[in-house]
């Protein structure tokens, strides 16, 4: 060792010395934070376990046939099946995604590529504000304002113009699949558009400017550079939106009309998995009904797990950079 003890050498020496010593404070913090992290992860497992446990009698009684049984009879027969709600969930969520998907991407494009700089902030903030409206308020507005408008004006209009399609036949009603689709569209647009916006902002500038320099129009640049680059992220955003739509219980149950049926017309009432759980779980007065509803929750949980993990895997695998913030 040099006789001139430089500060760096001293520090390095101290570090080497310290390595061997046991620091109780470090272990405590490590243990504490690990406990917290494990608790958070354990919650996920606990939720899955507890809900499945409640559903066990129904899974045992009905098995997988539950997914194809159309009946839901909490009366004397006590036969339960999820088919009608799987149908309702599929129709309302996919319908909402069909509208909200392109709409959100268009909004994200507007905010990142097309709007003048001074407009981006305010419009962006307004779209974010849509996310601030809680689902129960959207539902309230849906029952009292949108429902009557849809029944008195929108559905008759669709019937007149597109009535040859079975989707738009039937009698207009303030409760039904169509109001549910509209409500879900409002709910998932903010998520999909904000994720898409992040994605589009992340497209490298030189790629975009290169394309423009080659003489493409703005739209061609978007179609040829931005979309391919952000393709997997957009897929993830759409899956996230779908997951959100499938899990929405409150706003849907307020406007959908609680009917157990599978039919073509969007004007008719129906029901979804989440909405049925919300409307019947508290009042389920037989053990069979409670476990049947828990079975619905298991299906819902499975779907949302698959959708979420799928979206995350896509983002992490194909995006290759820092995961997109929601």
């Amino acid at each position: 060792m040099s006789s001139i003890a430089t500060p760096q050498a001293a520090a390095r020496a101290a570090e080497l010395r310290r390595r061997g010593r046991f620091r109780p404070g470090d272990a405590v913090l490590h243990g504490l934070t690990l406990a917290a992290a494990l608790a958070a992860v354990a919650l996920l497992g606990l939720i899955a376990w507890k809900v499945t446990d409640q559903a066990r009698p129904a899974i045992h009684d009905f098995g997988l046939g539950f997914l194809t049984t159309k009946t839901w009879d909490p009366g004397t027969r006590q036969i339960f099946g999820a088919a009608a709600f799987l149908f309702g969930t599929a129709v309302t969520s996919l319908g909402a995604l069909l509208i909200a998907g392109p709409l959100s991407i268009a909004i994200a494009l507007f905010l990142t590529e097309l709007a003048p700089r001074w407009l981006r902030g305010p419009i962006g903030a307004l779209v974010e504000m849509l996310a601030a409206v809680p689902s129960v308020v959207v539902g309230l507005w849906g029952i009292l304002v949108m429902g009557p408008f849809v029944a008195d004006h929108f559905e008759p209009f669709l019937k007149r113009t597109l009535g040859f399609i079975p989707l738009f036949r039937g009698d207009p009603s303030i409760f039904g699949l169509l109001p549910a689709i509209l409500v879900l569209t409002i709910m998932i647009t903010p998520i999909v558009s904000s994720v898409s916006r992040e994605l589009f902002l992340g497209v490298p500038r030189d790629l975009k400017e290169g394309a423009l320099a080659l003489g493409t129009t703005r739209w061609e640049m978007i179609r040829g550079v931005v979309f391919p680059y952000a393709r997997s992220g957009i897929a993830a955003a759409l899956i996230l939106g779908l997951g959100r739509a499938v899990g929405e219980a409150i706003a849907v149950t307020q406007v959908i009309g609680g009917n157990v049926a599978i039919h073509w017309s969007l004007f008719q009432p129906g029901d979804t998995l989440a909405s049925r759980i919300a409307s019947q779980y508290q009042g389920a007065s037989s053990a069979k009904q409670v476990s049947a509803i828990a079975y619905l929750a298991v299906i819902l949980l499975c779907f949302s797990l698959v959708a979420n993990i799928g979206a995350q895997v896509i983002v992490r695998r194909f995006a290759g950079r820092h995961p997109v913030a929601r």
Partner: protein, 341 residues
Amino acid sequence: MRKLTTLAAMIAAVAALGAATSTASTGRSSGTLKGAGSSFVAPLVAQWQANYKSSDIQYNPIGSGGGIAAITNRTVDFGASDAPLSSDQFKACKGCVQIPWALSATAIPYNIPGLNGRLHLNAGVLADIYLGKITNWNSGRIKALNRGLSLPDLKITPVYRSDNSGTSYNFTDYLANASAAWKSKVGVGVNANWPSGIGAPKSNGVAAAVGQTKGAVGYVDVAYTLKNHLSFAAIQNKSGKWALPGLRGIKSAAALITKVPASGELSIVNPPKAAKYKNAYPISTFTYVILPTKTSSATELRHFVFWALTNGQQYGPRLLFVPIPKVVLSYSEKTLNKVKS
């Protein structure tokens, strides 16, 4: 060493989280009786809340099914249901008694804008409306019962209870009693596989749905039709007369009860053809309070329910609840004594 700390941390974390929430949940405030259940009886219970001074009565009209579930889980002190408990539900409740404590009727409200008079219906037509067989108000069978009314070309939207409801029990009990088709296709229960229409939660929801949907028809405790200014139908009883869900009609139907069975279960739908029941409204029903036989709030509960059975009945007639007949009252008081701490 590392593995041990990890394991210990894991156990500690989950245990702490679990312990914190489960132990902290227990705790009652004394002097408050919590109840939940039937929305049918909620208007009368609201009067009792306002006029009973010995305890604070808290009541949540979540539907009869919810009331049965809540008292079974002991998340409340008393449950209220218009549907009697089945033997399975008695078993699940682990030592409960059901006590009839009020008497009223299920009205049939409808929304036909501009109708020049009161709608008249009978069981057969009602059953077929709810089975989806009659779909328009100007159908021949409805017209036959309503000569003198100009019924419009308007689609019928039957409204039913989407949650487990004692009112549904009463309504389906009536329909099954009067229509063999209904009995075989749908049956009796707090809920059913409703063949057509829209479902609304709780009595409030049904009243709202009927009020907001042109052409709708529903079934709900008569007090709700009054409060929300809905028109209700006159129903033909077995004696052939047109009955309304008023005090006279309900009282006449209740005359069916001469003896109360041990379970306390009473059904007074569709009284047979007889002079005694010529004014009977055929969709009348008793409604029950469900109490555990062993509970820490036994004294307060007994005091409250006794008051409700006696003094409390005076607040009923204004809401079209008829004071319960003496034979039922004596059964109820006797059963109430089974509630102990």
